[in-house]
Symmetry: C2
Subunit: 98 residues, 2 copies
């Protein structure tokens, strides 16, 4: 196999599994304070668009890579949003009590 | 422009700026505890490979996207590694003192 094509496959593999360690860490620790919401949001929007683009044009590797990223990015995004919602709710509750 | 191609450009744009909010948050707060080292490492390896692949084959949008991601991913990776090193050093120091 051409070495440049092989490098492309390596790139695709590593980008596909980017959010796996973050999903594992976040599901274990249940801490999302240091993670930027917009990083998760941008990645979610970007990869949803890649998925539509790839399925429409029949680009299987890109479709696979985007679905992998979405699979592991989505639970972190949900947890981050739920933590932010809880924090905001507690703040409002404290303000009402004060 | 074909809507599918437009969706591809939107995808490329959002994926390019994925690490921008994380870099800003991390440089401001200087906290990296909740970020998984391997997420940063996998993204670094993957995008370095995409950059080599894209430059070799002359794929400009992919090269631009990979360089953007590397530009904002690398400072977070350096900060995470430096925090891990400091933590390890403090632990060893405490063990020596104990």
């Amino acid at each position: 196999m051409d070495s440049i094509i092989l490098i492309g496959y390596i790139a695709s593999f590593f980008c596909s599994i980017t959010f796996v360690p973050q999903a594992i860490k976040t599901l274990k620790s249940r801490q999302t304070d240091d993670i930027a919401l917009n990083m998760l949001l941008f990645s979610f929007i970007g990869n949803s668009c890649w998925l539509i683009h790839a399925i429409s044009l029949g680009i299987t590797p890109l479709a696979l890579s985007a679905s992998m990223i979405l699979t592991f990015n989505t639970p972190i995004l949900i947890m981050k949003l739920s933590h932010m919602y809880k924090k905001r709710f507690t703040q409002i509750e404290l303000q009402v009590k004060a």
